[in-house]
Symmetry: C2
Amino acid sequence: MTAMGTDLGREATGDQRAVRFYPPAYDIRVETVSMPVIVDPDDAVIKVTLAGLCGSDLHAYRGHEEVDVVRTCGHEFIGEVVALGSSFNPNASERPLLYSTLKIGDRVVSPFTVSCGECHFCRLGFSSRCVFSALFGTPDLPGGQAQFVRVPKAGGTLFKVENITSVLHSGLSDSSLLLLADILPTGVFAALQALQHPKITSLLCGKQYPHHGFVPRYVQLETTPNLSFDDRNFTFAVVGLGPVGICALVSLLDMLGDVPAINYRVVAIDPVASRREKVKSVLAVLTPIATPPRAVVADIEEGKQLVKDWTDDVGCNAVLEVVGNNSALLLAYEIVRPFGVISSVGVHQAPPVPFTGRDVYKKNVSFDFGRCPVRAMLPIAAALLLKRQDVFGGVGEPASLIDRIASFNDAVAIYEVFDKGGCGKILFDPWKN
Amino acid sequence: MTAMGTDLGREATGDQRAVRFYPPAYDIRVETVSMPVIVDPDDAVIKVTLAGLCGSDLHAYRGHEEVDVVRTCGHEFIGEVVALGSSFNPNASERPLLYSTLKIGDRVVSPFTVSCGECHFCRLGFSSRCVFSALFGTPDLPGGQAQFVRVPKAGGTLFKVENITSVLHSGLSDSSLLLLADILPTGVFAALQALQHPKITSLLCGKQYPHHGFVPRYVQLETTPNLSFDDRNFTFAVVGLGPVGICALVSLLDMLGDVPAINYRVVAIDPVASRREKVKSVLAVLTPIATPPRAVVADIEEGKQLVKDWTDDVGCNAVLEVVGNNSALLLAYEIVRPFGVISSVGVHQAPPVPFTGRDVYKKNVSFDFGRCPVRAMLPIAAALLLKRQDVFGGVGEPASLIDRIASFNDAVAIYEVFDKGGCGKILFDPWKN
């Protein structure tokens, strides 16, 4: 079976349709290109059933990445295995699970970056910095906005849908499962980085800092003073309400709803009115998890004012920065409190970080930056995906993250509209006319 | 008693000797100035028995603080209570402990900043950002390099030596206890921020990230994969080996020595040969806690090479930055691994933080910046002070942090030598001729 898969891969030298980016900027073309083939024994070739368009695709589209190479776009996809390299066989039981269990025809979700599952970083849970890491849709690795895509280190990279859904005791739609490729784990990561920081976790546990995290054994943890209920008031902000921002907001509310004996409020900030409307629809669905409503949607000025009013001008315990530019970082800094945490999952580019040494020293700010390790977030993200199908299950409903499923024929126009903030998340069905 | 103390304070309008800084730079004068008096009911006046000279005193001395005001220097001191405001009385039992128990004649250590013990920040453990925070030795608050010093919010700010030593079942010298004012808690803070970060703590516990810190209850923690012993290898660096850097190094080694079933190495980096020699002497004393030696002292180039060699070019799990300039931050970034932590306790000034957005995103770096909350670190720092009297107990020995105890008569010359890195830590005895 595996060998046949390999042969199928090597023989599959026909043509396919793909969405391609031409530098320097704003030039998307849907073209016929050759099929991917197995080039390494650890490769798989996937027939793509759905591929997402993500806000970070716009970095290349707008010419911010300063790379002069044509590439096939897209880093979010779900599909079916059509070819496997020779590494995939029942004897590969010493390797990551899928090297011995993945079969032709299996439904799989791919995280947006390659991870081998075997290097030091993968073993520790830091899969987004795997030594073989590569981002789909870059000059190094053709993306998923195509009918077929090659996945390197596929036994470490891919999730088998069957394994996820069997854990969840439920079948989920392709459009819902596709959210596990990037945006839902990234949202979970944004929220978890904030809540796991010892400056926050200690307080969530009702204890004075530095109760939580590693503490030398000769310090009596039980003597850490308890906080009064008045001190267990938390204020958070989510800056940026694109699809990842919504995932971060839903993750944060869900996690906070799980903490006993605290009070909390979240302000969700975006300057774009249509995004705020979308979030209001999402919150209307979420309300049952928290009455009175725990989250308020605001533009930038309203958001700053709410944080002042709610906290007596002290600021937020943590800010989730889900934009990836310096305006967002500066806003996060402005509204975070001393000893607060900025969890930044935005994809930042060439400009210098916009703070002086004195800024960061005088406020005791903690920052977590960088790319989501999708595999480490999967247990939480998959559980949340099932739990909040009211948000993550639908397409085209007011509270859905996904606006619609489109054909490649509309790709050029969709990139243009998406770039201008004129639509929410769009998925491509590469087989739709 | 208290009332008498108050009166003593108000009446103490005589003169005293103090070390004063004259802007713009490099101008220290020992002068006769008026005695401090109680100006607020929460004040105490302390007769200083020892006052420290600290590396961060050099920021003002070198003219980096751009403040055009003469001030009494010094933010580290230990002494004896000679006057108390009217807030100090047995009926103040609803307030921080010392408002009802502090008496004239008590020996006290003062943290280097004022903290009320009652505001939101103090209640949460973030005493260095108290709403009444003020740094001794600045234009706002005369410092401790004087015969007497006024301490605002003294019932929240001061430690009573009797309370510390009774906890420790030991008496300690003034010169040793003075280390609790700033440099030992700050060193503990540098180490603890690194080890408590969830990117590090999970691994210290032998578990894949993100095992540690807040985790939603619907995620089964026990399913987090265990790390093999090979993956429980840790590499740390301490950048900057002044007195605070030595405290950070000793704290880090002590805490790591307390973690079961890990392997670890620490590189201690400083470009100044005399500082490296001092650290070698300290390590010679510390060796019994870890055989083979866990720490190696290096200059910058040697340090980079050691990190490469030890980690196969992966980098340090965490770097403790104990300098406070951009060269140190850049070195920390260079030698930290992806998903590593930079714990910065250096006092940073006006220059922008020296990283681009892409730098911090692509390495998934976490940063903790800012001033040590001395009170929150006191339980650990006090325990460590007792445990490591071989380093923290002596004066003038090769492994001592404190070089000597000097007279104010030598202050001008000592500032000059200290500025050039020509001596280690000096304490002033304001009563010595």
